[in-house]
Amino acid sequence: MLWLAALPMLAGAWLPWVLLRPNRLAPGEYLRLPPAWVALAAVLALLPALTGQVRRGLVWLPATLALLLGVWLLGGRTAAALVGQADFARASAASGVWLYLLGAGVATYAAGLALPERRWVAWLWLPPALALLLGGHLADWSVLVEGRNEGPRWVQELGQHLRLVGSALGLSVLIGVPLAVWAAGRARVADAVLGVANAVQTLPSLALLGLLIAPLSALANAVPALREAGISGIGVAPALTAMTLYALLPVLRNGVVALRGVPTGVIDAARGMGMTASQRFWRVQVPLALPVWLGGVRQAAVLLVGVAAVAALIGAGGLGTYIFKGLQSAASDLILLGAVPAALLAILVDGALRALEGWLGRRLGRAA
């Protein structure tokens, strides 16, 4: 895996690093790294794999350095490219940056896998990278230039994205948890509920959003009170409905599987020792089901970060707004302004909930 990661990094070091355009839509020229930087980047490309041959436990160090070098060079080279250019000029990341970061990311991930006890070393790049970002080192990168132009609106859309994900997740947990508890005790009900949730999941998100427009606008027309509450065929209401339906499946499925997975012997012992039904539920079933159940909530959260981007299409807002705006005007910087934070958000949510799962799993006596 480490040698596989070295390949895109080597290619990235050699390929163009920056695309300089006179304005954000015009064609531009590709700029490579200066030879000295190519050499350094190439050395750092090979170092993780070479370290891996000697001590796998130390791979995180060169891998993290390579990742940071990529980020740092992105800032440095875009700034250098813009020297002496007009205000409209844009310096974007070219294929070299992406390939290099991809390879370094894979190497860092692999370094984390090599240290199962200390997975967090795979995240050591994050604080310095954030420092570079917040310290203004990346300020001349075209995506951030767009971001600066958007300014408070971008923060608003990010907030809207988070609100959409949070509300849909909250709703699906509110609905899914009691439903899973109810279904887990009844095999036939469980099958039916999982079947329906599965069917919803197979619908493409765009189709589901489209399908909801007609009934919701009909509903809003029929009941004026609902319309005044802000419910209509497009906007937040159908987006939230669709997202909640999507998130329901993982929450339900893992809930049912986790609750049914509690060993029958354990339940029988709990009954035989005189636990009441609610004592059995809270003291035995919930703690034993929780780690697996939380896995479902994590899947739902990651799924929702992605689906929320699509929801922008029907006017629900969120980071997807930039993706679609960028697609319409062929402005890749705008697309990235929506796509990169959405991707990072998904990774962060996944990492945080995974950590919680692992911690709970260890606390509750199941190997994580």
Partner: protein, 310 residues
């Protein structure tokens, strides 16, 4: 003392237990024995009302079990099952303390009681009280299971094939340990088993069931030597024979003369049941019997079989 009167359990048209009358004597271990589907587990689970009878009644210390709420009744009865059923998310000590905690007993007194019980079942409290069930072997886990059942000092213990899932070595050890514990504490124990050896070895009394009815109730000797029916004889048959063989040395069956060539050699003080095992393992129907270096003679398959049936 547990009295079972005209006990009956029906599921629709099928009858699991029918007109069962039985008294489990105080302070003794009664083995509920029988082939699978005979109603022994149903009977056991009706005592602590995990299954509600459809007829008859059960008296515990002279009181009808139905006057208590099922949960209250169960907290006053120890319960041990084949799957052990320790709570995997709790430590050994927390597992053992389950019933005292449900009863709201003082925490400190319970902690002390837990240590005593771990000692009783042969687990060093200092080593085991903080462990998780996943860190225990099957035998250790069931020792904890027994300690947990005894935690609130119930007069009665119900056990459903408690040693059935253990490997033979662990099972033998735990059976011995449990026999000791039971003698010391004088609990009234009802133990469901389909293992005849276990029933005859541990039971002060054996209740043999068949198709929901009681076939015979008595001491192990009663069942072996005075079977009440053909079924009892058949059910115990071969095993009773082997048990008798196990109590006698192979030298008691020796005939003078040379065995067939290539016969395996055994020592005279080997028990006759083990000698039979040697024959089976080596695929030979005679054995050469020695005392030290001296040849005593030989023993043949028919001799062991014949004597057993006599």
């Amino acid at each position: 003392m547990i009295q079972v009167e005209h006990l009956e359990k029906r599921y629709g048209d099928s009858v699991a237990v029918q007109d069962l009358n039985l008294t489990f004597p105080e302070g003794q271990l009664t083995a509920l024995l029988g082939p699978s589907g005979c109603g022994k587990t149903t009977t056991l689970r009706m005592i602590n009302r995990l299954i509600e009878p459809t007829g008859g009644r059960i008296l515990l210390g002279g009181q009808d079990t139905r006057i208590l709420k099922p949960e209250a009744l169960r907290r006053s009865i120890g319960y041990v099952i084949q799957q052990i059923g320790l709570f995997p998310h709790l430590s050994v000590a927390q597992n053992v303390a389950t019933v005292p905690d449900l009863l709201g007993r003082d925490r400190r007194a319970t902690a002390q009681r837990v240590d005593e019980l771990l000692d009783l079942v042969g687990l060093d409290p200092a080593v085991y009280r903080g462990k998780r069930p996943a860190e225990l072997s099957g035998g250790q886990a069931q020792r904890v299971g027994v300690a947990r059942a005894l935690a609130a000092d119930p007069p009665v213990l119900l056990m459903d094939e408690p040693f059935g899932a253990l490997d033979p070595l662990a099972r033998d050890r735990l059976q011995d340990a449990f026999r000791d514990i039971q003698r010391r504490l004088g609990k009234t124990v009802v133990m469901v088993t389909h293992d005849i050896d276990e029933a005859l070895r541990l039971g002060d009394r054996v209740a043999l069931m068949r198709a929901g009815r009681l076939e015979q109730f008595g001491t192990p000797d009663d069942l072996i030597h005075r079977p009440a029916s053909e079924f009892v004889r058949d059910f115990l048959g071969e095993d009773a024979t082997l048990r008798q063989l196990a109590g006698r040395p192979v030298s008691a069956f020796v005939r003078a003369g040379l065995p067939s060539p290539g016969a395996p050699r055994v020592q005279a003080d080997l028990n006759a049941r083990s000698a039979l095992s040697v024959m089976l393992r080596e695929g030979h129907d005679t054995l050469e019997v020695l005392r030290g270096e001296e040849l005593l003679g030989h023993v043949a398959w028919q001799d062991l079989r014949g004597e057993g049936h006599a």
